[in-house]
């Protein structure tokens, strides 16, 4: 049988295509990926990736987006789609992402309402007119029939990954994280005892919705067992026995999160007396963590009001000794996960904190007074009628987050009298200790701001320890600055003239060159032509 040259040619090409297919398979199987964007916009953080490897049940992420979103929503929607697709990609096939438009289908709309979502109102500018439109821009994350986390409206994408991962963690975690609240009872003037179980019940109830909260009413003989705690809230460290303080030390060194309330004073509100705390081992302990509590009593013009009962009828008066820290006055760190969602925190009878630099410990100021604050040093007066005014203003630190690998305050071995074969000297992993300069914040447990503070602090401690560092994505979409109409027209003209002008110039140059070349005599004719 004679095989034509074309057939032979085709046959000879087959191995080449096999090789090309093999190269294609190899390139799709063995690959690397680089995210060139600022803030690694489209790459999940390691904490999220670790979380996704532990997902064992199907999770559904539904994007309820209107089909015709206004222009300023579209880049955000695009980012949300890409980010959630990354969750699906790394979710071991357990995470499904879908997008629906509730505006188009009544059944879908009812489903959205059932999931706790609703329309978002947005102001848009259309044809030089501002109008309000209602649109769907929410996310629902579900696990089976019972697990649900809803984001009614995607307001900001800066923390979207942290929010989605936190929601995923809440949906998938087996059992609630355990938070231990440990500290002595407060002994107030006149024999009134601040009963931890009675007076901080509101905090206990608030936290119990999401956590398994344990309380330790610390007595000198109390044996502290913190082994099962996922996070710790501690106050009154100066009154801890050496072994109790050692347990807290080892807890910190084990890499678990702690919220530490550290005041420099003892306050008895009933008799209106405040005294500096005597210096103790606790101060050296704090220094080891990277901070110092000053023996000051902070006052701030940005303060809350108290009910002043010395007059009839009672009135509400500003009480500068209860500084009110707000996001608006820069009192709370808007980038720190434990404070960014807080509007207000009131810290009664607070002492200011001072950073003491430590190798491997990164301090971060998460709360501070306004610029109109002042302090009392010794001879503290807390009577509203007698408390002194400012002689000079300043800004004082009232909250710190210390992150890093902590070293045991006790060095290479436990303190005398304590047996612990598993003594830890240095942390194997980074952890965070949050410090607030007032332990009397617990006396404000009935206040809504205190409850929110406790809730967010607990959320930060438990989620962060499991999620690791999830970066905030700031300035994801760079807005254009204010541009006048004249500038816009100038930019428009440039956009359609610069490139074409360059091309025409190149063409003109080429034409001139050709004409010059064509009019020159051919060199071969003229023997004198060099």
């Amino acid at each position: 049988m004679h095989l034509g040259p074309r057939f032979l040619l085709t046959l000879k090409s087959l191995p080449v295509f096999v090789v090309l297919l093999g190269l294609y398979w190899a390139s799709q199987t063995f690959y690397t990926r680089h995210d060139l964007t600022r803030d690694h916009l489209y790459s999940l953080n390691q904490g999220t990736l670790d979380l996704l490897t532990r997902v064992e049940e199907p999770i559904q992420i539904q994007l309820f987006f209107s089909r015709n979103l206004p222009p300023r929503f579209q880049p955000v929607a695009d980012f949300v789609r890409t980010l959630t697709q990354e969750y699906a990609l790394h979710g071991n096939g357990m995470i499904q992402v879908s997008e629906v438009d509730p505006g188009a289908d009544e059944d879908v709309r009812n489903e959205a309402y059932r999931l706790g979502l609703s329309e978002t109102r947005a102001n848009i500018i259309s044809k030089n007119r501002q109008e309000a439109v209602e649109l769907w821009f929410g996310i629902a994350m579900t696990r089976g029939e019972t697990g649900l986390e809803a984001f009614p409206s995607v307001q900001s994408i800066a923390d979207l990954e942290y929010d989605l991962s936190s929601a995923l963690l809440r949906l998938t975690q087996k059992g609630k994280p355990k938070i231990m609240m440990v500290g002595p009872t407060f002994v107030e003037g006149g024999g009134v005892v601040f009963d931890i179980q009675r007076d901080i019940k509101p905090i206990y109830h608030q936290l119990s919705m999401l956590y398994d909260v344990g309380q330790v009413r610390l007595q000198p003989e109390t044996v502290l067992d913190l082994s099962k705690a996922d996070a710790l809230i501690v106050w009154g460290l100066p009154w801890f026995q050496p072994e109790q303080m050692y347990r807290v030390d080892q807890y910190i060194v084990s890499g678990k999160p702690v919220l530490l309330l550290a005041s420099g004073l003892v306050v008895s509100p009933n008799v209106l007396v405040a005294q500096a705390l005597p210096h103790s081992n606790a101060d050296a302990f704090y220094a080891g963590l990277g901070f110092k509590v000053n023996r000051t009593l902070v006052s701030d013009n940005q303060c809350t009001k108290i009910k002043y009962t010395n007059v009839r009828p009672p009135v509400f008066k500003d009480y500068p000794l209860f500084p009110k820290l707000t996001q608006a006055n820069g009192g709370l760190d808007p980038d720190f996960s434990g404070t960014k969602h807080l509007d207000t925190v009131v810290l009664p009878w607070a002492s200011d904190l001072e950073i003491m630099p430590r190798e491997d410990i990164l301090p971060r100021i998460i709360a501070r007074t306004s610029e109109q604050a002042w302090v009392q040093n010794e001879g503290y007066l807390i009577d509203p009628d007698k408390a002194p005014g400012p002689t000079s203003f300043g800004r004082y630190i009232l909250g710190l987050a210390l992150t890093g690998r902590f070293t045991s305050f006790y060095g290479e071995s436990p303190p005398e009298g304590v047996e612990n074969p598993d003594h830890l000297v240095t942390s194997q992993q980074a952890s965070t200790v949050m410090v607030w300069g007032s332990d009397h914040v617990l006396t404000q447990a009935a206040q809504k701001s205190t409850l929110q503070w406790a809730e967010h602090a607990a959320g930060f401690m438990t989620h962060r320890s499991q999620l690791g560092d999830i970066d905030r994505r700031d300035q994801v979409f760079a807005p254009i600055g204010h541009v006048s109409d004249a500038e816009k027209n100038k930019i428009r003209r440039l956009s359609v003239t610069v490139a074409p002008a360059l091309m025409l110039l190149a063409a003109l140059g080429r034409t001139i060159y050709r004409r010059r070349r064509n009019t020159r005599p051919w060199r071969g004719d003229d023997p004198h032509d060099t």
């Binding site: 964007t37 916009l41 490139a499 360059l502 080429r510």
Partner: protein
């Protein structure tokens, strides 16, 4: 040897009014959605210093521009009677194909580089993320290489400009709109244009380019018989 062919292609295009007009239309047309349109691709409408919508539409423009650029590569040789002459030269088909490809690709690159005035104007308005811009142009260079290889191969099948254009347009449309994500030019382009440089996408474009150039070479070899 293929450089000689490439140089000839470039000279021919630079001497051609058609190529100049095509390039002018291309760069002006790309500027319109970024600064003139009423849609979200307009930075003045979205309020964002972001070229992602621009890059999102670039594949569609290339889908028309590249067939127009490549339609004369082989068809003109056939119609002008120089095709057989070309095949008789002591040039390997590989040199001819690579030369045609390089010559036309250089023009493509020149036109794409001319559009870099747009990001420069965006930087006057705000502080865009340079990552997607770098990714977008990288994706554009790779996509145009792949599209050109497809268009050249399809153009080698016919002696008529218009037929070559239509066939190339249809072939590229197939690759742009195919529902198989791993074969979809547009889906892979959007990924890189976001600033995510994934070697899978780079390899895909490279292999498509090589495959169609190879097919083109084989087509020429068959033409010799």
């Amino acid at each position: 040897m293929f450089l000689t062919v490439a140089a000839k292609e470039i000279r021919h295009a630079l001497n051609s009014q058609f190529a100049l007009i095509l390039a002018l239309i291309f760069v002006i047309a790309l500027a319109l959605p970024v600064f003139w349109s009423h849609s979200a691709t307009n930075v003045f409408v979205s309020g964002l210093a972001d070229l992602t919508p621009f890059f999102g539409q670039l594949p569609l423009y290339l889908m028309v521009f590249i067939p127009a650029l490549a339609m004369r590569a082989w068809a003109e040789e056939r119609r002008g009677g120089t095709y057989e002459l070309l095949l008789s030269y002591p040039l390997r088909p590989r040199d001819l194909v690579l030369g045609k490809f390089l010559g036309n690709y250089s023009l493509c690159l020149f036109c794409l580089c001319a559009t870099m005035a747009l990001p420069l104007l965006i930087f006057q308005l705000g502080n865009p993320d340079p990552g997607p811009i770098v990714g977008g142009y990288l994706a554009a260079f790779l996509l145009s290489a792949a599209c050109l290889a497809v268009a050249l191969f399809v153009g080698s099948l016919t002696a008529n400009h218009i037929t070559a254009f239509i066939l190339a347009l249809a072939a590229l449309a197939l690759f742009m709109f195919i529902q198989v994500p791993s074969l979809n030019f547009h889906a892979r382009f959007v990924n890189v244009a976001r600033g995510i440089v994934d070697t899978r996408d780079l390899a895909f474009y490279g292999l498509v380019t090589v495959s169609f150039l190879y097919l083109n070479i084989k087509r020429l070899e068959m033409g010799r018989w």
